[in-house]
Amino acid sequence: MAEAAPGSGGTVWLASYPKSGSTWLRMFVRNLLADGERPADINAGDGEPIASHRPWLDGVLGIASADLLPAELERLRPRAYDWPAPSTAPSAAPSLRKIHDAYSVADDGSPLAGRGAGRRAVYIVRNPLAVAVSYAHHRDCSVDEAIDLMADPEHALAGDAEGVRGQVRQRLHSWSGHVRSWTGAPGLDLHLLRYEDMALQPGRAFRGVARFLGLPFDVARVAKAVRFAGFDELARQETHQGFRERVSANSRFFRSGRVDGWREVLTPAQVHRIVEQHAPTMARLGYLDGPQARRPRRAAVPA
């Protein structure tokens, strides 16, 4: 298995808060690269696993990450990501590596994502009103609980609690904190992408990210990849063969794919709560413009 080091050479971080569309983008890139006659398999192995993938980390470090204290792990993760690949021919296509952690710096000053050469990242963001609904389904919790989690600066995935031991703990911060951490990270060549643009203006959004990644971006090829990675296709494949990244017991991973489905789900009180908690960041990203606005747009003070 190739073990290229993310953040160095041809690897680009694909960062996002959960349920913001990173899987969708990965499927698009997979189809763009394959340029096949049929849609690519949603369950196909992609090369590099998510940054928090425990077996990968254990392999690079040579010890059990499960035996490390949280602070020790935070200091070692950047060194794992910066470790150069065993000699592999430099390939034209960059490797996209998923990460849900908020961007952070360990107590010894190392950025979690490492210092590898030419640190590049695509950061995907989605309206927190939609994220709240999707996250609730994903975690099999109530929407109110999801809203609480999204507001909690201490929220982490695979924390000390049950279950997903296959990944190390990923601190998310609050939803706003997560956005700020990546968009404000120093020294990062960052391409910001909105889920809503992928859904409503796919040609432009996907061509833009393809260019950023140094991938082919001619209209026809992109359009085909967009089609092969379209929601209907992804959902169809999940129905037939399941999707190995699905976590929820009750909900499909490719569940709805709509941009405005939250309108039918969130109560006015829930909308109000989310907007109150995340207004500055939402405003910066254009989520308080137009009919979605619940309060006057603030004078621009970046969060």
Binding site: G62, D67, L76, W83, G166, Q167
Partner: protein, 315 residues
């Protein structure tokens, strides 16, 4: 950490114990290991564990290659640097030198010593080392391999609870004859797994300070090596029942290779050919299958029942 140049005192600091068929002399106390048989106490130890200086970035003479951000290796030797805990140097299958960081506690030292360092030593001694757990079933051994976090230790604890002896948890050593050597007879479990097994974690010792992971002593040590008969790859799946799928042909060999203990160590110490041959031999005589356990919920006893059913059919 206690060190001394007084031979009499040095003698007193020596802890003689055994594991993996080896007599071990250790300057660091190793309560998890069985004490050596006093009748066989004479004679030199097979392995010595000593405190001493270990180079922090691999050997200064450059004789070893960096194989990871905290690993260096060459044939017959491996260096591991766990920041804030210790440096370890493992040599010639006979000697492990431990260089603790000033604030390191003994539990933390033991954790990495009895995992990665000991695993490297066993490779150096010519064993085939797998990352998994080994339990006794009848007169043979069942080994469960799988990715970190797949649930191997919980499964081993479940077997132990049902009266099966545990040969190894994490570091499984096979000899040339395909026998599993009895290693450390204990499992280490996260808090929630301990609770799931109905045990009060307050009664247990933490694996190291600050970690909510506990040592479950398993009081059924196995006195001698036993033949490996069944190897299962444990994975989480979407189905609601455990499913066993046999692995045939070359895939058996590939599976064994893929679940070597710390593959990087094998490459770094030039043991790839040795490992290939050993895996070929083992694959020929062992029943190999995938065990898919339900990702959510899932009944540990049902899983074990399904496994035992399969072992009975492929004895």
């Amino acid at each position: 950490m206690p060190t001394t140049s007084d031979p009499a005192a040095a003698q007193a600091l020596r802890h003689r114990c055994q594991a993996y068929g080896l007599r071990i002399d250790s300057e660091l106390e190793l309560p998890e290991l069985a004490p050596a048989d006093p009748a066989a106490d004479d004679g030199p130890a097979d392995v010595r564990i000593v405190f001493g200086a270990v180079e922090r970035d691999g050997p200064a003479d450059g004789s070893a290659r960096a194989i990871g951000p905290i690993l260096w290796a060459r044939p017959g030797a491996l260096w591991l640097q766990v920041p804030g805990v210790a440096g370890f140097r493992v040599e010639d299958g006979e000697r492990i030198t431990v260089d603790p960081d000033p604030a390191a506690d003994e539990d933390s030292l033991r954790l990495f010593l009895l995992g990665s360092a000991l695993g490297a030593l066993l490779w150096q001694r010519g064993a085939t080392v797998l990352h998994g757990n080994a339990v006794q079933v009848g007169e043979g051994v069942l080994v469960c391999v799988g990715a970190s976090g797949a649930g191997k230790s919980t499964l081993a604890a479940g077997f132990a609870r049902r009266g099966h002896a545990l040969l190894a948890d994490d570091v499984v050593a096979l000899d040339d004859a395909g026998r599993v050597q009895p290693g450390l007879a204990r499992v280490r479990l996260w808090q929630d797994m301990v609770a799931q097994l109905g045990i009060d974690s307050a009664q247990l010792r933490r694996v190291r300070p600050g970690l909510a992971k506990y040592t479950l002593p398993v009081l059924q040590p196995v006195p001698q090596p036993l033949p490996l008969r069944w190897l299962y790859l444990l994975e989480a799946g979407e189905r609601e029942e455990p499913v066993v799928t046999p692995v045939e042909g070359l895939k058996r060999f590939a599976l064994l290779r893929a679940h070597a203990y710390r593959p990087r160590f094998v490459e770094g110490m030039g043991l790839a050919a040795q490992q290939l041959q050993a895996c070929g031999r083992i694959a020929a005589s062992v029943h190999v299958a995938r065990l898919e356990r339900p990702r959510r919920g899932g009944d540990l006893d049902a899983l074990i029942d399904r496994l035992l059913e399969d072992t009975a059919r492929h004895g």
